[in-house]
């Protein structure tokens, strides 16, 4: 069947020339369709002598199979090319900027406050809060600061028209806590907002935040106070930090101390942050004055207490090298957004 070979060759040439799906379909109808050329060839078998028919049938079937496979291969190639074309058209540019998904962040003071709170929480401190508008009695007198006492000069105070004070420190929360808990032992921090009658400058604010600490129990000593504060300093400023203690005065503690941490900026070599002393003052503390314990409802012969108070703004300023305290309450987003990773 020389003719079969010719038909196959012709069909294969046409198939190779088919550029797209449409031409391919036309080719299929022409060659493999119900009335296509291969079908015609099969029909033509009847015209052959009987003994040749079987051989011719085989040949035609093989040829038909060859063309069918060639068709499928071609079809797949064409579809693949079309798919590739489509994908190419929709290829993304990975360097296009992502859509901005603005996340907010906490105010740096709140962020530092949260960090301080979690450090003390891990050391077993609970948390207590108190009013920001206080009585003179709770803010001062119960803390061993009588009226007209020279120590009152340590706090410049806002007074309300109703004769109350805006609390000048978080220490009055100590009084509320003691009165609620005495004679049971207590161990809390009291974070919050405080006020001072001061002009707002780069270094002083009329409003700021403190974290007060108070622990009262039968065996609380200065050693415990130093241990807690050293642990705090290391957690806050780095594992290699050391603290230094200076004698000081607060009416509500005796002995009273001020605590410095060695400068984390210059490794205590001396820089502008530590004013070239190698040390940075971070907080005031002491052993709770017996008068304050008694005012809080405790028997000062049965228990002792430690107390400390630290300024959150000061720590945030040291932490982030903020030179001007006035940035904090202007709430300029250009400032606030700098603390996304805080």
């Amino acid at each position: 069947m020389q003719e079969v070979q010719t038909v196959v060759e012709e069909a294969e040439r046409a198939l190779e020339a088919a550029p797209d799906g449409e031409t391919l379909e036309a080719w299929r109808v022409t060659w493999l369709g119900k009335s296509g050329r291969m079908t015609l060839l099969v029909r033509s078998i009847g015209e052959l002598p009987k003994d040749e028919r079987s051989e011719a049938g085989k040949t035609i079937n093989i040829a038909r199979g060859t063309l069918q496979r060639a068709y499928e291969a071609r079809k797949e190639a064409l579809e693949g090319a079309a798919r590739a074309l489509l994908l190419e058209r929709e290829r993304i540019d990975p360097t296009l900027p992502g859509a901005p998904i603005p996340l907010g962040n906490r105010h740096p003071i709140a962020a530092v406050m949260q960090e301080i709170r979690s450090i003390f929480q891990e050391m077993g401190f609970g948390e207590a809060h108190g009013p920001e508008v206080e009585t003179d009695e709770i803010n001062f007198e119960m803390l061993n600061i009588p009226k007209d006492h020279p120590a009152r000069d340590m706090w410049d105070t806002f007074y309300t028209t109703h004769g109350h004070v805006l609390r000048t420190h978080t220490s009055p929360v100590q009084v509320h806590v003691m009165r609620a808990c005495a004679p049971e032992p207590v161990k809390v921090i009291c974070p919050g907002r405080v006020f001072r009658y001061e002009q707002v400058t780069a270094r002083s604010e009329s409003m700021f935040h403190q974290v007060e600490g108070l622990e009262i129990g039968p065996h609380v000593t200065m050693r415990d106070l130093l241990g807690v504060l050293q642990a705090f300093a290391r957690r806050m400023f780095g594992d290699v930090r050391n603290i230094r203690v200076r004698n000081s005065f607060f009416p509500f503690t005796e002995p009273s101390i001020e605590v410095d941490v060695d400068c984390f900026n210059c490794e205590a070599k001396g820089c502008s942050i530590c004013k070239h002393t190698g040390w940075i003052e971070i907080l005031g503390a002491g052993m709770v004055h017996p008068v304050v314990l008694e005012n809080g409802g405790y028997d000062s012969k049965a228990v002792t207490g430690l107390a400390f108070g630290l300024g959150v703004e000061r720590i945030a300023m040291l932490r982030y090298r903020i030179e001007d305290i006035r940035h904090f309450y202007r709430n300029d987003l250009r400032f606030l957004r700098q603390f996304q990773s805080a």
């Binding site: 709140a110 709170r117 077993g124 920001e132 508008v133 032992p185 004698n247 005065f249 004055h289 606030l336």
Partner: protein, 816 residues
Amino acid sequence: MRVPLSWLSEFVDIPSDLEGFTAMCDMAGLEVEGIVQLGDQWERHVVGEIADAVPIEGTHLHAVTLDIGSGTCASVCGAPNVTAESVGRRVAVALEGAQITVTDKKGAPAKLLVEGREVRGHRSEAVLCSEREIGLSDDHDGVLFLGGDLAAGTPLADALGDTIITFELTPDLGRCFSIHGCGREIAALLRQPLRTDSLKQAEIGEAGGGSVPVSIADPQLCNRYLGAVIRSVTVRPSPDWMQRRLIASGMRRINNVVDIANYVRLEMGQPLHFFDLAKLSGPSIEVRTATAGEEMTGLDGVHYTLPETALIIADAEGPVAVAGVIGGSESAVSDSTTDVLLEAAHFHNHSVRRTTAALKLRTDAAERFIKDVDAAWTVHAMARAVALLLEICPEAHLEGYQDAYPTQPIGNTLPIDGAAVKRCLGIDVEPEDIRDILERFDFTVAKDGSGGWAATAPTYRKEVTHTADLIEEVARVVGLNNIPPSETVTAYLNRSSYDAGMARAQDRIAQILTGLGFNEAINYSVVSEKWNAFGTHHGAQTGESIGIANPIHVERTQMRRTLAPGLLENAGENLRYQRGVHLFELGRAYATLGSTNREDDLFAFVATGSRRGAFWGEADPGAATGDRFGLFDLKGILESLFLQIGVQGAEFTAIQGPSLTPGQAMQLTLGDAVIGYLAAVDPTVARGFGIGEDTAYIAEVRLQPLLDAGGVEELSFARLTTQPPVYRDLSVIVSAATPVGEILATVREAAGDLLHDLQLFDRYRGEGVPEDCHSLAMSLTFQTPERTLTAEEIDQRFNTIVETLDKQHAAQLRGS
């Protein structure tokens, strides 16, 4: 407290390692604020003698010739106190190349290099210095005249140089507010003897002499009043050695009498006052409180009306001094004074402090009295002043003195032993060491009956009232840094008063809102009165605004009653640099009910403008969400937030109120209580805060009601069901006047317990829907964990819903 080292060294040997010494002082509570080497900056300064001073015609200037030892130099000087009569006097001279301190146009200190130049045809190659020019004080009224004992040409650093230590003393260190007091404290800390031989005192004999009777009307306010009469005094400048010490201490020199009072105050810590005896009527002295309307002109020239609480010194006619604060001008010592009354007294520090507050006047003497002085020491200070006066004015004599001394002070006696020290400090200190330490600080220590010590404080330590004060002395000497920190922490299990709710809720809210793109703001609690007119729509409306009696700024006069204005101001300010502002705040609002106050913890947020700013894909169908929050985004945020803190059942209803846009405001209620609001800010109000183009939305919610209703603690797991859900969509046309919430509530009620979820997925007005109506499309999910639902029962429920909607809201089923 400014302490010249040369003066301090009279009382105690100061170690040559100054850095180590000041570190020791710091650790022991004598905080060193600064050390100044007076003289280091005087590299080209010498003592000069004025050899000639010729007025320059037509000016106030003088052409001065100076003897500077090695030769002469010329200067043109404009100081008012340099005249032809100044010839022979010594002055501080800054030679060519020296730096002097001047003030710039703004009044700030600046350095100036001395250069040779011509002034009005006269050569000027040196400057005759004022105190300010050589950095001694701010005084620039004239040149500083130096003592006649200084040779011309002496380097100024040799003549006036000193080391000035400034101590920042806490209020409990009243005993250290003098050179002697500092020396005494330092001697105790250094374990060195205190030398007092420089404190030469006059032999004053017994009290009772003197012609001026003294009486104290109120012994509570004045515990001692000494009045010494000294006659035949000549008022003139103080001797050079005294002037130099006063210069180094930053004191002005007036005359020998007044200077002695200042000198002894600096040296011994006891303020003194000299009256011109001739100008006292009586003469007699009474220490009493002022009577109504009494007045006095002070040494400062100010006329004071004296408050009735003020303690005064009165002669036979009336006030001649405000006790411990200021003397009267009429009885002041002048150049013509010959006889004086010297006052050395102990006024109660609280009383002096009250008076300074009432008169708004703080003098050096008052500062000193407020820190408290020792009544037992007063007589020594008087004897010291008398000795100095008699030394400087050999012609003068002490006539005698009166001593009104109602009660002698005694130091408190307190117990202390090793156990007390251990209990407080946590360390062991030997009993003998405790005694030794206390004795160094002038405590009298004796054995008490129980094996410990009874320590009696010296009379100058009135602040010692508890054993804790003694323990502090032990700690200071042992060294606070020698106390080993504990390695373990104490925890009191189940006894903590942890105030979990509020702080935790605030942290959670902050977490959610920051995740939604809001930044946290913190605003002032003290605000302008007009801000409080914004309105308190958050429900905490009880009471009145709290006013500030002593505001620091005219715009900060009240405690805030709402967080909204602060956030709106922040938004307005930020919009100068931003295309949108999304801020939240956690803070309090304050009100007063008279004797009690109310403080409400709130959270608030403001949202205005673009959330993400410019984005290339904004118009791309691939961009998922809108760039601006609308009112219902914010409502959705509140609803989700409530779910997260366990609050259910908050309802939103329409409200009207100041500052809110009508028809764009909703109130939140929980149970019967209003707990907050969410609204578009009235555009006029927003513009007032600098918010122009975009609508500003504000929400404010009280936290305590949320906490009270919060169900975080009661959370319990619900079993997941395998029963298949059945979905039905429902579309109805209802009157637009009926709140959609009511329609949804009706559907829920009619659907009953099989309804698992209900979502409104479309609201449509327009073609095909009658005017005044809208079409609401919702999808209903029916499910129950107990069983598989049949189509029949769902159809039945669905019909019930449709019928109920029709009955209650005349709802028409759409598309049927």
